[in-house]
Amino acid sequence: MLTLANLMAILPLIIVAATAIVVMLGIAWQRYHAATAIVSAAGLVLALLSMPLASAAQSSPPLMIMDGLAIMGSVLVLLCALVTVALSHHYLAGYIGPREEFYLLLLCAVTGALGLVASNHLATLFISLELLSMPLYGMLAYSYRAERSLEAGIKYLILSAAATAFLLFGMALVYARTGSLDLVGLATELVTSPDVWSLAGAVLMLVGLGFKLSIVPFHLWTPDVYQGGPAPATIFLATVSKLAVFVVVVRLMMTAPVFDSDWLRVLITVLALLTMLGGNLLALFQQNLKRLLGYSSIAHFGYLLVAIVVGGTLAAETVGVYLVTYLIATLAAFGVVTQLSSPFGGEDAAGLHHYRGLFWRRPWLAAVMTVSFLSLAGIPLTAGFIGKFYVLVLGVSDGRWWLVGGIVAGSAIGLFYYLRVMVTLYLPEPGMRRMDAPNDWGNRIGGLTLLVVAVLVLMLGVYPTPMIDWVAELPMIGF
């Protein structure tokens, strides 16, 4: 039965959903861009403020759970969404056509993501995942007059639907074998050695979720969708969506013993190696920054899979730290793309040539970009290094030398394209410049957010203890 205490646990989710309704009614009454953005941001802030209440709640509603993993996931989802809203406002200012619905879609997707990280039952898992994905189709195809955006939306829709079919089939197989859909039930039913059917179910579910995380060989959609979608939608896809799905994968692996079999571990090891190397190799000669970041995110989730392979408390901590470092670096990198592309004027400024000599025009923007790329490359004194350090520690402490070798090789390859982008920022300016950020970008709310994120990348690189403490103190597995 639902009680008030139960509802407290999902208070953030309720607040975000309510904000979505308010925004919808507001749009129906009168269109006003700035107010919509402010209401959305206020709703997200309110949800963030209610997080302490939610984590203090004694019990969770049925089908859901508010353990450390869910709390960490929710906080990160809300923060990323907030940054996305801040960056979207200026970006959409120049869009011809309805602007306000973007926030509505975004809030719906955030609701889905919040449900996903807290789901404790295959039904909630599935519904939340769809609630996260459906608005994303709309967001990606939002500037539907641009051919690439439409292409991105439709491509994501079709491939995502196929992946969903895999996921459902896998769930059906597991259900047929065990007769229960909640994760705890699954865990107890599957204690005995897993048979072919439950393994097949697990693998199919992995395919479905691996698609959303763009694990090689399910990564083919990533570069096209990253390139085509409007920058804020891509940010959302690269951060919130991937983060929420990864949290669910972690939860599945840690709860259900079927995912614990050695055979599956070997499979995931191979996938992790393929993903790290594949993502980095494919990025090598990219000329389009958004595609490049897409491939880079593939590689980063390859590193993260190490945590799935190893498992245990340290792995949960690694997931938390690595996700934080990946998210802030990605937000900063895409944030610069958004700043340069806004206000919306057709295609985003994604070609590398747009960034040539940026440092001599917009030194601070180029500095933000440099910091974020250094962090993605895992260079010391940025947050990315702490993340990479954690993954290496995890691999070494468990003696997974293949994965450690993969990380080292992947990082070395990755440097090539990260450096290529960074040096482009500082090269002498060419005569032509088509895209530029407005002069007062730093005074706008989006620009300020971007600077804060960049400072965070540096601060967590120099003094990571607060982040580590925060992640380490969350009781990760509440089962």
Binding site: I379, L381, L415, V423
Partner: protein
């Protein structure tokens, strides 16, 4: 606290330089000059006041220490410490930093502020490497100094004949060193976890990890991880691919820093970390390392003879000289290790001088190609004379510091490995050949063009004179330098003999 300031001052100075460009073009140069002078003065004061007697039972090994907790989750501390060796190298960094600022006074004319930011960040990182005693911190500085070096080469470097070669050279430098650095990080982490499973204490501290009992096949691999990271930077021959390009394309200040101090970080790393952490494995590995050193000496010298580009020639001579250092470090003889330290200092002076001279030549004739030089002795006042002096130093002429270093290395290594010394001596002959070749092709012979070139101004004259005086001073009276570092070389040499004795004793027991 002095140690913290030694690291922080260059970083703060760098940021100031960046912003100072708004005021005037010259401001960053003066700020950078002041910053490096500050570092140099601090280290000289510490030198004059310090006590470098070998550590006795009640006194610490370290002259100065500073520690503070940093990442308690992994037992990482900010632990800085200085002994004679670090002091010498920090002072060297300050001095060469000063030269690097001075020699780019005319050469760098655009983006002056950002240039000096990168230059000072490199120097700050190098000082950090020399002072860090926590392995995590050491690795951090080790990797951190690569980024500004990358920008220095990629943005202010000379383009070679074909388009984008300076960016390619910079990228290659970065990837070589970063990838090998990650191998070292893996080794560090593995060492920490072996120590953790032995004692239950998670720590990256140098003193804590020394003497960790690592099971055998693993220990060898970990030692190799450290060795490869340092071998790439030194460079040891199969890993030297980045060096000639990086040196040739870098601006003069970059070459001075690279040859003068960045290469020394590798020798320092071997001396401070690779040998003491894995004494037995290193002793077993010593023949291989010495062989690689020999290959480096001969290979570097032979290739130097065939270069057309003056900076590439000097770069290859570095490979050759570092081969001597590598042999000395693995010889297990106190005399040879002290010789290696002297040679490191001497090489920093002579190579920096040669790079600065070739930079000054470039400013006058706009080429580094020796085919378009020749007969400069008649056309250019003063500088050819200086070149002759430093070429003589580079080939190890008595009375120069290089002679002292090479002589001590060969003398110290001989009792343990006579064959190595015999082969290494061939390198000395080759050194004479490439040095004279350089002199002949640049300054003598028929004049390629006629017309008098501008002589050195007071700044250039001063740089050369100071370097010359230092080279001769160390060459004629090396005792102060030897006294400062004596306390370091002894224990490292004992590690080898100690582990050899242990092996003998183990054999007797069996």
């Amino acid at each position: 606290m002095i140690l913290v300031w030694l690291i922080l001052i260059p970083f703060i100075g760098g940021l100031l330089c960046w912003q100072a460009e708004r005021w005037s073009h010259q401001a960053p140069r003066w700020i950078a000059l002041g910053t490096m002078l500050f570092v140099l003065v601090i280290s000289v004061v510490v030198w004059l006041t310090g006590d470098f007697a070998p550590a006795s039972a009640n006194s610490s090994q370290w002259l100065l220490q500073w520690r503070a907790p940093w990442i308690p989750r992994f037992g990482v501390e900010i632990h800085l410490a200085m002994d004679g060796l670090s002091l010498v190298l920090v002072a060297l960094t300050g001095f060469l930093g000063l030269l690097a600022v001075l020699c780019s006074w005319q050469e760098i004319s655009d983006r002056v502020g950002f240039f000096h930011l990168n230059l000072l960040f490199i120097l700050g990182g190098v000082v950090g490497v020399f002072l860090a005693l926590d392995l995590f911190l050491f690795f951090l500085f080790w990797e951190m100094m690569l980024v500004p070096m990358y920008f220095l080469i990629a943005l202010w470097g000379h383009s070679g004949s074909a388009g984008q070669t300076r960016i390619r050279a910079a990228t290659r430098f970065f990837i070589y060193t970063q990838a090998s650095g990650l191998l070292m990080l893996v080794s560090i982490i593995a060492l920490v976890f072996v120590h953790y499973s032995n004692t239950g204490e998670l720590s990256f501290g140098y003193d804590t990890l020394r003497g960790t009992d690592v099971p055998e096949p693993l220990a060898f691999w970990l030692m190799l991880g450290f060795f490869i990271a340092f071998a790439v930077k030194l460079p040891v021959v199969p890993f030297h691919g980045w060096l000639p390009d990086a040196h040739a394309q870098a601006p003069t200040a970059g070459s001075v820093d690279l040859a003068g101090i960045l290469l020394k970080t590798a020798a320092y790393g071997i001396l401070r970390f690779a040998l003491p952490l894995f004494p037995e494995q290193s002793a077993a590995f010593a023949p291989v390392a010495m062989f690689l050193g020999l290959v480096g000496i001969i290979y570097g010298a032979v290739l130097a003879c065939g270069q057309q580009d003056i900076k590439r020639l000097i770069a290859y001579t570095s490979v050759s000289h570092m081969g001597f250092v590598l042999i000395a470090l693995y010889s297990g003889s106190e005399l040879a290790i002290q010789g290696a330290i002297v040679l490191m200092v001497a090489h920093a002076f002579s190579t920096a001088a040669l790079f600065i001279l070739s930079g000054q030549l470039y400013e006058r004739i706009h080429s580094r190609d020796m085919r378009v030089m020749g007969g400069l002795w008649g056309r250019l006042p003063v500088l050819p004379g200086f070149t002759l002096c430093f070429v003589a130093a580079s080939l190890g002429m008595p009375a120069t510091a290089n002679f002292v270093g090479e002589f001590m290395i060969l003398f110290g290594t001989f009792p343990g490995a006579p064959m190595v010394v015999v082969v290494a001596s061939i390198g000395l002959v080759l050194a004479a050949i490439y040095s004279l070749l350089l002199m002949q092709r640049v300054h003598f012979g028929s004049e390629y063009r006629s017309g008098l070139l501008a002589g050195p101004d007071r700044r250039e004259y001063g740089i050369m004179l100071v370097l010359l005086v230092l080279t001769l001073a160390v060459g004629l009276y090396p005792q102060p330098l030897l006294d400062t570092t004596a306390a370091v070389a002894g224990p490292v040499a004992e590690l080898f003999t100690g582990s050899a004795e242990l092996a003998v004793r183990a054999g007797e027991v069996n």
